[in-house]
Amino acid sequence: MQAEVKANHKMKFVKFQSLGTLVGLLLLFIVLSFASDNFLTVNNLLNVFRQISINAFIAFGMTFVILTGGIDLSVGSILALSSAVTAGLMAGGMDTWLSVLIGLITGGLMGALNGVLIAKGRLAPFIVTLGTMTVFRGLTLVYTDGKPITGLNDNFAIFGKGYFLQIPMPIIWMVVAFAVLYIILKHTTFGRRVYAIGSNEEATWLSGISTTKVKIFVYSISGLLAAMSGMILTSRLDSAQPTAGTAYEMDAIASVVLGGTSLSGGRGWIVGTLIGAIIIGVLNNGLNLLNVSSFYQQVVKGIVILIAVLLDRSKKSN
């Protein structure tokens, strides 16, 4: 009985922790509102959230990957290659939607390749995606010859530049993706399998679940979302850059961890990732508004991440 009471207490504590991230975000909002006159304006906030969307897509996919106990370092390179493919096709005269579709499929396939190597080849996710990160980046440079691709179709603006009811399109896309992914994780059998693998892969396999298929699918989702992020970025910049997305995996992983998802898998949720991505976006924006040098910005961001991980650790040992 005593153990049961203790467990109940523990459950409450976990909920309180997710609340903690949210409280942290609110504090950040309040502090920045006072520190800068420009922070709490509709224009600035829409701008912040538009920036956040680029990272959020990648972080959403990363959440799936990390929930299975894996990691995906290749997302930045996948972003670059799929956006280069889409831009290249458009510049070559292809229809906008078809080029986007092919770009997204390319991203999904690159993710699937990661998944196959990890699940079938039984290789460490860190090593596999470290390798493919370099390969995909190299392929991007080959494909673009190291130069930006321009001359995109006008209606491609719907991804990064357009508005819907005065809300920037990237935010709309982000909200739609979030809703779909939230439902997948929370309400589908696939979501259950993702959590189960991260929690105990052996027991999951012994329960008759094809852990190989689930993992391949998870990395494909990560690739697809990185590609989607690439579409938005390319549309906003009006060109595909061969070095786009470099080091984007770092912000994505940081968002997931800030959101309370455990790097060892099985524990966490996508709502936390969204909050984490917002914290990182707001932090970037706030430090800019406060004229903090970009060198110091990195220091601050790193410290925030470390504090979050320390909190996560003390939560576990409690």
């Binding site: 049961e4 109940n8 959590y195 052996e202 027991a203 396999w205 329960s207 008759g208």
Partner: protein, 502 residues
Amino acid sequence: MTAQLLEMRDISKSFSAVKVLDQVQFDLEAGEVHALMGENGAGKSTLMKILNGVYTKDSGTVTVKGKVQDMNSPSEAQNLKIAMIHQELNLIPHLTVMENIFLGREFTYGSTGLIHWKKMKQEADRYLSQLGLQIDPTTLTSELSVGQQQMVEIAKALSMNTEILVLDEPTAALTNREIDALFDVIASLKVKGVGMIYISHRMEEIFRICDRVTVMRDGKYVGTKRVSETSMDEIVKMMVGREITDRFPKIDIEFGAEKLKVEGLTLKGKLHNIFFSIRAGEIVALAGLMGAGRTELAKVLFGVTPADQGVITVSSKQVNIRKPIEAIQAGIALVTEDRKDEGLLLPMSVSHNIALPNLLAVSKFGFMSKARNEELTDKMMKQLHIKALSANQSVGSLSGGNQQKVVIGKWLATNPELLILDEPTRGVDIGAKKEIYDLMNQLARQGVAILMISSELPEVMGMSDRILVMHEGRITGHFTREEATQEKIMFAATGGGNRDAS
């Protein structure tokens, strides 16, 4: 008169209110090989861990060479020249043989911290040749066979001037030739005056190399005999001699059609030509000692390690099982021995765990149906009397008995034709045990065929209709409930039956 090396008197030890050692006696003379025997869970390893300072005793005295000692850590035991060779070897595979022998005690040039490789090689050579071994000290340990690695461990113990050496099932993974080599080494250590404590389930080895044997049962000291003055039968009787009470509520059920037939099942090096069958409503126990191949057999039937040869027939349909999902589809469920690593998602809720092998049944078009999941969880929690605050409580915070019930529940929900239970009552309190037995009866009555792997002889004899005994990957005994005696089972489990046959 040889010198008394070690005397352990009235040793007791409890783990959270469970008494695992109750006033146990043990002593050892110089140059003696003293066997320590008992069923799994009799308390042998706990006693040895106390000797090695891994656990501290609650009461009793340990006297080493006439002086009362308290071993509070493995290093204190090492200082008293006590060493243990564990069943799982403790060498570091990426280091060379000599680095392993002198790990943490490397020879250096004075206090410079620079390693004196030449001296290390010489010394390693010396100890290895004392054991009559031709192993190059600069070989990587991972390149050695298990038997050779064991020898290196012994050389390591020797280099520490060990006087009391504990060998825990040292022959379990060795070939016959390696066993002979090991016994030669043991004989030469005897001459040097090293006292050895020998833990083994193999009766014939005890009679080959040991001077005395001490038997433990349920954490208690049963007795010590000179090997020359005792017999296998007497030792077996000492090991199992307890009354079976009505702790086992087995009911008689009329058997139905044959649910499982296994013919010629073979898994290289693990299982040899296994034949048996189970009928609906029948409970068959699979007895044997640790490492006899019982869990391997269960894992072959469940597709974890597919068989190399043989035919499996479930409900008169021949099935080809290469992975768990195929076993589940064939109507087989396996409640694994290790519920924490193989059975449960500990941080997850009861309902999440029960749903895991039943995701199709609790979903529609891939979407979880909350109602169906709740219904299924509710049914299982009621049927199995799972005590949890709610279906959402994490399984990790439940008691051992309730955790076990969750594992059984998740498999019961798949409506299996054949239920394999691997040590279903291990680490479970008496109340929950009884409930698990009642459940087995209930399932048998519903026509489920049950294969129960158990190391507890009373459970084997109390809860089964038939008993299969395994030894070294073979079925060495086959008894009906009426024929079986604990002695017969033990005899077959230690290879006794085999020896008579050959």
